[in-house]
């Protein structure tokens, strides 16, 4: 009899314990991110890291991250987090897509997210509609540019960047049909000195607005712009030389995903974030006249209403 009582008591305690634990578990998701670079790059990696901080502050998430995860260790790092019971494991960047697919297959309980990744079975991918963001900064650049020549600078050629450039060119030429957009690559995401030299070279070819798509390298572009008195536009960075920015804000994307996970509505599918809200834009610089600002805001409305849309590759 006593024995039965003990079992009942134990069952009751366990039940209460479970009840007590489950809601707490739902309230505080555990989120881990694998990053390709360092959180101090003032660009993509830092942006994703800020998303982690937002998730912690807004949703009380228990967070962890690993920096400088090389291609060879992606699966190991992400699997390790899944094994340690993290609810959400994020690969920061399209290069994590293959690793994410394998981790998602091995750990079906874990929600695996890739930022900027190609749609993949079993994985949640979050993408920005790149041309929309390129278009908006291109439009502003086209109206402000005096020489009619702008440039986009990245480290390597890849689909997301090409899509940004397509939008950028379209925006630039909408404002100035004669306008020309150059494209250049530095071959290094973080080499500030080289990005600066590349910018000087662009400037000597009449470029007066540059769109950097780099990690820490953008600092060199901003320095060159400041020294030679030209402008930049930002989709990954903020600086004083920016005419305006329309940021591919992965901090916002990550926080959004964590919120959706909490609501229980995050599915393993591809999500595309559009440029539909004015608060996605940074501040306009003084060099941007009122009527150009109005046109930029109008463009956001057009994208929102569907009057302006872009095909991506």
């Amino acid at each position: 009899m006593l024995h039965h009582l003990k079992v009942a008591a134990l069952a009751a305690v366990t039940a209460i314990g479970t009840l007590a634990v489950t809601p707490a578990f739902a309230e505080a998701p555990r989120v881990a991110v694998a990053l390709p670079g360092m959180i101090t790059d003032r660009a993509f990696n830092e942006n994703v890291y800020n998303g982690l901080v937002m998730a912690e502050e807004q949703f009380g998430a228990d967070t962890a991250y690993t920096e400088n995860v090389s291609q060879a260790t992606q699966v190991e790092v992400m699997s390790d987090y899944a094994r340690r019971g993290y609810d959400i494991v994020v690969g920061a960047g399209g290069e994590y897509t293959d690793a994410a697919e394998r981790v998602a297959a091995s750990f079906p309980e874990t929600t695996v997210i890739v930022l900027n990744g190609a749609p993949t079975e079993g994985v949640t991918t979050i993408n920005y509609n790149n041309p929309e963001f390129g278009y908006l900064v291109g439009l502003v650049a086209g109206h402000v540019s005096e020489t009619g020549v702008a440039a986009a600078l990245s480290a390597q050629e890849f689909a997301a960047f090409t899509n940004v450039v397509d939008g950028f060119r379209k925006g630039f030429q909408t404002a100035n049909p004669e306008g020309e957009v150059l494209v250049a690559y530095t071959n290094d995401w973080a080499d500030i000195a080289k990005a600066k030299e590349a910018s000087f070279n662009l400037i000597s070819q009449d470029v007066d607005v540059i769109l950097p798509y780099l990690d820490a390298g953008w600092v060199g572009v901003a320095q060159a712009a400041e020294e030679r008195g030209i402008h930049t536009v930002g989709i990954l960075h903020e600086s004083d030389t920016n005419l305006v920015s329309a940021r591919l804000d992965f901090a916002r994307a990550l926080a959004w995903a964590v919120e959706k996970y909490q609501d229980g509505t995050l599915e393993p599918q591809d999500y595309v974030i559009h440029l539909t809200s004015v608060d996605q834009l940074g501040d306009f610089s003084d060099a941007v006249p009122e009527d150009v600002r109005a046109r930029a805001l109008e463009a956001v409305e057009k994208i929102k209403s569907g009057a302006l849309s872009f095909d991506t590759e």
Binding site: D41, V183, N187, A190, K196, N201, V219
Partner: protein, 314 residues
């Protein structure tokens, strides 16, 4: 395609870019060459550039003067050289392994410390740097004047360093000793040359020179510190030493060649969007391979390079 070679303003632009891109290579290559001439492999150049860059940022930030940055950079370079010397010369650890260890240590140490020491991280700094010094009269010469005589002090320093190393190695008694120690340390020892002392001196001095390459990046080019900002320059400097067949003048020209092709590569991309940019990015390496197999003849490294000296060894 090559219009920029005819337009004087654009040509001056490309050539100044080339010179600026090759200065860190020149510092590192001269440092590495001095070590190797004394018979010590200095693979760590990449890490020493990074130490120099970090030291320059620390000095300039905390003492508010680029000269202090220069001194701290040299200090960091000498310390890393001392580490290489103790492990690779006295303790006879494999010098390649020590070099790689120093690179890895430099990467981790500088990025960790820059988060601790610089509020907001190293790449939000705006340090005081060295501005250009226009040499009177000479800087007014078209093209050449702008490229050669309107640069900052460290550029002139790098050019003088090449002459100094060349003079030291081939025109002085000390240089003779250095070369002897690098070729046949036992003979040099028998002739009364201090093998260990000479190697220590060369490695520590050479490492300080490599660090100046990093200081140049920080104090003249970008005025901030960012993680891994050496970006492979140390390895290219190593290639320049081999390409220059361990001769200071030739290694200097190899550095200029790499810098020139880097600059031209940046320029060619803009004019030829239809050609894949990788073709241009690979150009400097293609040229160096061609130069190695054909034009420059066989490379003859100092014969006891990488072999720690042991008096008792036969």
């Amino acid at each position: 395609m090559f219009e920029f070679l005819i337009n004087p303003a654009q040509l001056a632009d490309v050539l100044s870019t080339a010179l600026r891109l090759s200065i860190p290579l020149i510092f590192a290559a001269m440092g590495g060459l001095l070590c190797e001439r004394a018979g010590v492999f200095n693979i760590a150049l990449e890490g020493q550039i990074l130490f120099g860059a970090f030291g320059a940022a620390v000095g300039a930030y905390y003492f508010g003067s680029p000269y202090a940055g220069l001194l701290v950079a040299i200090g960091f370079g000498m310390l890393s050289g001392l580490l290489l010397a103790i492990l690779g010369i006295s303790l006879r650890v494999n010098q390649i392994v020590v070099g790689i260890a120093i690179i890895l240590f430099a990467t981790g140490f500088t990025s960790f410390m820059s988060r601790l020491l610089f509020p907001g991280g190293g790449n939000s700094l705006t340090l005081d740097g060295f501005g250009p010094i226009n040499i009177p009269i000479l800087s007014d010469i078209p093209i050449v004047g702008k490229v050669l005589f309107a640069q900052n002090g460290l550029v002139y320093g790098a050019l003088l360093l090449v002459l100094a190393i060349n003079f030291l190695l081939f025109r002085t008694r000390a240089g003779m000793s250095i070369r002897a120690v690098g070729e046949t340390p036992s003979a040099a020892d028998a002739a009364g040359i201090h093998v260990f002392r000479t190697r220590y001196a060369c490695v520590i001095t050479g490492s300080a020179m490599a660090a100046l390459g990093g200081a140049y990046l920080v104090l003249t080019q970008v005025l901030l510190f960012s993680d891994k900002m050496s970006a492979g320059k140390g390895f290219i400097a190593l290639a320049a030493i081999v390409l220059g067949r361990w001769q200071p003048k030739l290694a200097f020209m190899a550095c200029l060649l790499f810098g020139f092709f880097d600059a031209v590569q940046l320029r060619l991309q803009f004019n030829n969007p239809e050609i894949p940019f990788q073709v241009f990015a690979a150009l400097p390496y293609l040229v160096s391979i061609l130069a190695l197999v054909g034009l420059m003849g066989r490379a003859n490294p100092p014969s006891s390079i990488g072999r720690p000296y042991d008096r008792e060894m036969r």
